[in-house]
């Protein structure tokens, strides 16, 4: 039987003040696990908040304590990288509802029992409210930049809409202002896979000392396909097969395609680090995200009067968050007369391209940040 990973101590900040949530409930205090890289400068003007995607966490640029793998964005965040930790102070926190040390379904409440399915339905807005308290706790008024891909990009847009004066620049990547019907549909298949696992026990699997590993693995396998592209899968695996044992060829499944084996590995390694209830909570938060709906159906209103400098980046082969969705955000920003850069990076690696080694993408991020740095210094000179 699969067990949960041993509890690892994550660096975290605790916030005893209640946090009112968008659903109407209130969290009586909460914890956010976070990591920082680089050094905050004297005038506190070089802080960058990196927002992680659905299954990411705060281990953005260092070896993960559970998987032992490199940080999820080491290609982009680090010394001399596009988000240069020798120049910027980078903060990355595990989202509210997550399972890597932040308050979520897998964490205990006041009476010592786990939240489990009683954890309230949090939203992208709630995640951002929680992060804002962390940023304040770290003594930072205005962030030099807020950056993130996929669900991280939703948080970036939410930050810019909610706290325009606290966001000097924003880089939403491979994202959209709402989850499309197709995205919700994929999430629903993931959730049904989890619900259908007999070890799920209506979300109370911890009381039974079990986890719905099979359902969560299938959810991950399905979702993982949506992060790639046909071209990327073909290049990586084609139709190559491998034998399973000596009886190869005699029965239906003695032989498996390499892509099957890859997906199974993705599924089984995922359940070792991710909590099923967290997965349900966070996918639901993404589904409910609709920035225009929060502003009378007009996305431009979300950014009215914004002085934030935006850089929107999409990828040609991303069919989960297609360029058209981010272009709609760019046009809304135009309607709001905001300062917006927008580029679609040519790649065949699908949605996951934002996590990979894409030189044009990295050049765009570092160049944009450099331009923002010049602008920030110019504005400071005017003020002083």
């Amino acid at each position: 039987m699969d067990r949960l990973p041993a509890d690892i101590a994550h660096e975290a900040a605790h916030f005893p003040e209640p946090l009112p949530l968008e659903c109407g409930l209130t969290l009586p205090g909460f914890t956010l696990a976070y990591r920082t890289h680089g050094r905050l400068n004297a005038d506190r003007s070089n802080a960058i908040l990196v927002c992680h995607a659905l299954t990411g966490d705060q281990y953005v640029a260092e070896t993960h304590p559970i998987t032992g793998k490199p940080g999820w964005w080491e290609a982009v965040v680090g010394p001399g990288r596009a988000i240069d930790t020798e120049q910027y102070f980078v903060i990355c926190s595990n989202v509210l509802g997550g399972c890597m040390g932040s308050t979520g379904p897998a964490s205990p409440r006041a009476d010592g029992t786990l939240w489990g399915t009683d954890f309230p339905p949090v939203t992208i807005g709630d995640m951002v409210q929680a992060q804002a308290r962390l940023v304040s706790r770290l003594g930072i008024g205005r962030l030099f930049s807020v950056i993130g891909g996929s669900m991280g990009g939703m948080q970036v847009l939410e930050w810019a809409a909610r706290f325009p004066e606290r966001v000097f620049s924003a880089i939403p990547i491979a994202t959209a202002a709402h989850h499309s019907a197709q995205n919700i549909a994929f999430n629903e298949v993931s959730r049904q896979a989890i619900f259908g696992d007999p070890h799920f026990h209506a979300g109370r699997y911890r009381d039974h000392d079990e986890i719905p590993a099979r359902g969560l693995a299938v959810a991950r396998m399905m979702a993982h396909i949506t992060y790639l592209s046909e071209a990327a899968l073909t290049r990586k695996f084609g139709r190559r097969t491998r034998a399973q044992g000596p009886a190869a060829g005699r029965t239906l499944f003695d032989e498996m395609f390499e892509v099957e084996s890859y997906l199974r590995h993705q599924g089984s390694s995922f359940v070792r680090r991710f909590d099923a209830n967290s997965y349900l909570t966070i996918t639901r938060a993404m589904d409910w995200f609709d920035l225009a709906a929060d502003h009378d159906g007009d996305l431009a209103r979300a950014f009215h009067g914004s002085r934030t400098r935006f850089c929107l980046i999409s990828f040609t082969s991303d069919w989960l968050f297609p360029t058209a969705q981010l272009r709609a955000v760019a046009r809304a920003l135009n309607r709001a007369a905001a300062n917006v850069s927008f580029v679609e990076i040519e790649t065949d690696r699908g949605h996951d391209a934002f996590l990979l080694d894409e030189p044009d993408f990295h050049r765009t991020v570092s160049g944009f940040l450099k331009g923002c740095g010049e602008q920030q210094r110019k504005e400071e000179n005017v003020l002083s």
Partner: protein, 199 residues
């Protein structure tokens, strides 16, 4: 920077809000923002140029004159620039209307189809002219709406635009000597540059 862009830059007041449509690698907006204190932004269709411009720290978005101007609010800019692109857009009149809706002034440059070499070649050979300026064969040229200086002035009159300044420019982007007579400029100017505002 291209010489014709320098001429355009000279017509833009310092500290203005500027939109450069078809900004290429952003040479003009870089010049305007770094030396003139302008809030200069760009739109560019070629994705490689967009990437280069953003990577150079310039605010540029992927888009085009025909489809992306309608998004901007009225009077969002002091100047809207369209250099050497008008002849290649789908609906030049609509693009000009949008430029003067979102901007107080429009700066438009375009190659002059009235140039004497163009006229002479068509007359002499009976074939579509090929010159240094008009250098692509008819079946693959992006220049689907060529016009002459006089054509452009007529459109401005139709639309009640005020021509605040105009210049004829040679192919290298130097200002040409035909300053007084639009008729002479229409024969000898390879490119034209107009500064417009609404009446």
């Amino acid at each position: 920077m291209r010489l014709d862009l320098a001429l355009i830059a000279d017509m833009i007041a310092p500290s203005s809000r500027v939109l450069d449509i078809g900004c290429g690698d952003g040479g003009l907006i870089e010049h305007l923002s770094r030396t003139r204190g302008c809030d200069a932004r760009g739109i560019e269709l070629d994705m490689a140029e967009v990437t280069r411009a953003i990577a150079h720290g310039l605010p540029v978005m992927h888009g085009d004159a025909d489809h992306d101007l309608a998004q901007y609010p009225d009077a969002a800019f002091d100047y809207v620039v369209l250099s050497r692109t008008l002849q290649a857009v789908e609906r030049p009149r609509e693009v000009l209307r949008q430029m003067l809706r979102i901007g107080t002034r429009a700066l438009v440059s375009f190659p002059n189809f009235g140039h004497w070499q163009v006229r002479l070649q068509l007359l002499r050979t009976g074939r579509m002219p090929m010159t240094a300026t008009w250098n692509r064969p008819w079946f693959e040229t992006p220049n689907i709406h060529p016009c002459t200086l006089l054509d452009f002035r007529a459109l401005c009159a139709d639309e009640h635009y005020v021509v605040e300044r105009w210049l004829a420019i040679d192919e290298a982007g130097r200002r040409s000597p035909w300053r007084r007579s639009l008729w002479l400029a229409n024969v000898f100017g390879e490119q034209a540059l107009f500064l417009l505002r609404k009446a």
